[in-house]
């Protein structure tokens, strides 16, 4: 039946009965998550694997659209989302976040030849591409931040990049690392110097699932302490 998303019902939250741990992600976000062969890999996936290992469970990866993944975790369809999810006050109302494991910055990608945007102050009245439901989507949709001509919301960054190359949009607002991957693969694109805004990535779990949250926090803190996160990052950025 219908279930209000604000409900904190516990029926699906505890996964005690099963021996798999389900993580949702959108594997179009290298180096955090991407496709290699027929596998989903990336920094987030390494972290997720570490969590599963710590809990002694089998990890199952579900590939979803970004906004779909955030809904799935609220509904308890998955145990957690590891998809470069930015911590955000709106989101905190409907899901719980682990400690953050990445300090990320959001940047602006433009075309090298004829940049539709000259600097970070120049976003007003531009056509901006973002991933639907991503933190950048919320940021550019907030009139206090910027008043764009139009916001185009994509499910895949690759489609946004294609449109940027073809000049259908003026710029993409996205996370720095994936943006680097993007410009590395497309030499007609470049990143504008500077940071639009900063944010932190964390793992999202269903609201009220403190048990799992604590386990995850433990694992992440340990990984940070051991310098594993940098190691993962290096693996996936140098692999390019």
């Amino acid at each position: 039946g219908t279930k209000s998303n604000n409900s904190t019902s516990k029926d699906n939250t505890s996964n005690g009965g099963t021996d798999t741990l389900i993580v949702a992600t959108e594997p179009g976000f290298a180096p955090y998550e991407y496709i290699k062969g027929d596998q989903v890999v990336g920094i987030d996936m390494d972290i997720a694997q570490a969590i599963a290992d710590a809990l002694g469970k089998k990890l199952e990866i579900k590939q979803m659209d970004f906004d779909g993944a955030l809904l799935a975790v609220q509904q308890g369809k998955v145990d957690f989302v590891a998809a470069g999810v930015s911590v955000d006050s709106e989101r905190e109302k409907v899901m719980d976040f682990s400690v953050d494991y990445v300090n990320s910055k959001e940047v602006v990608v433009v075309s090298k030849e004829n940049p539709g945007v000259s600097d970070l102050e120049d976003l007003n009245d531009k056509v901006i591409g973002v991933q639907q439901g991503n933190i950048a989507d919320f940021w550019v949709s907030n009139e206090e931040n910027v008043t764009p001509k139009e916001v185009k919301r994509y499910t895949k960054f690759a489609q946004a990049a294609e449109d940027l190359k073809n000049g259908k949009i003026d710029c993409i607002v996205m996370d720095f690392y994936p943006a680097e991957e993007l410009v590395a693969a497309n030499d007609t694109l470049t990143i504008i110097d500077g940071t639009l805004f900063e944010d932190k990535y964390a793992i999202a779990v269903q609201k009220g699932n403190t048990e799992l949250l604590e386990d995850i926090n433990g694992v992440i803190n340990q990984l940070i302490e051991d310098g594993k996160i940098e190691e993962f990052t290096a693996n996936h950025t140098n692999a390019q």
């Binding site: 219908t2 998303n5 906004d67 809904l71 591409g129 639907q132 449109d163 073809n166 259908k168």
Partner: protein, 237 residues
Amino acid sequence: MESLREWIVSVGDSYYNAFIVEDRYKYYLEGLKITLSISLLAILLGAFIGIVVAMVKESASRVKGLRWLGSICNGYINIIRGTPVLLQLLIIYNLVFTSRNTNEVVVAAICFGINSGAYVAEIVRAGIESIDKGQYEAGRSLGFNSNQTMFYIIMPQAIKNILPALGNEFIVLIKETSVASVIAVTDLTKAAQYIGSRTWDILPPLIISAIFYLIIVLGLTKLLGYLERRMSQGDRN
């Protein structure tokens, strides 16, 4: 009892949130407008392509030197009918429309028009084939050449069979264009998804947009049935 009341209130709330708050109904209406625009442009283009393709195929089958033209038409029809419209949309969008000023609605309309053309071509072919061969022979025996016969005698009659099928194709398009949401077109379906990603409650906007579709599609189906009956009544007088 109490919990039932609560449930009703919470459901009511959800829908209020999904429809009224922040004037969200405007999104649906805007989305509906785009859905209908895409479908209408697409059926016009599809009808044009379909009729041309059907006529070319028809002529090519009669003239030996034009076989290759017929093969091209068949290739087009097979490729369109052999692949999902979603993929066609993605491919055409990325392959053909790479210029800056592409209006996504126009792009979507062109994609669906190209898609629809293949189906319309088959509709037109069936419409032409449904005309008694005697009509063609009567035309030829009066001294018309085969194109004149087609134009003055066969097509005017075939159109009567084709129009209802075209109307139906339009209705199919209204539903099918919902996949246009993958190319950043904010049609009715995308509008619902967008609202869902704002309210964190995805179901109510989906159901609201489903109701919009239902009203439009069933309404048009009824209307079409009515017009068809009227046309065939005219026949019997």
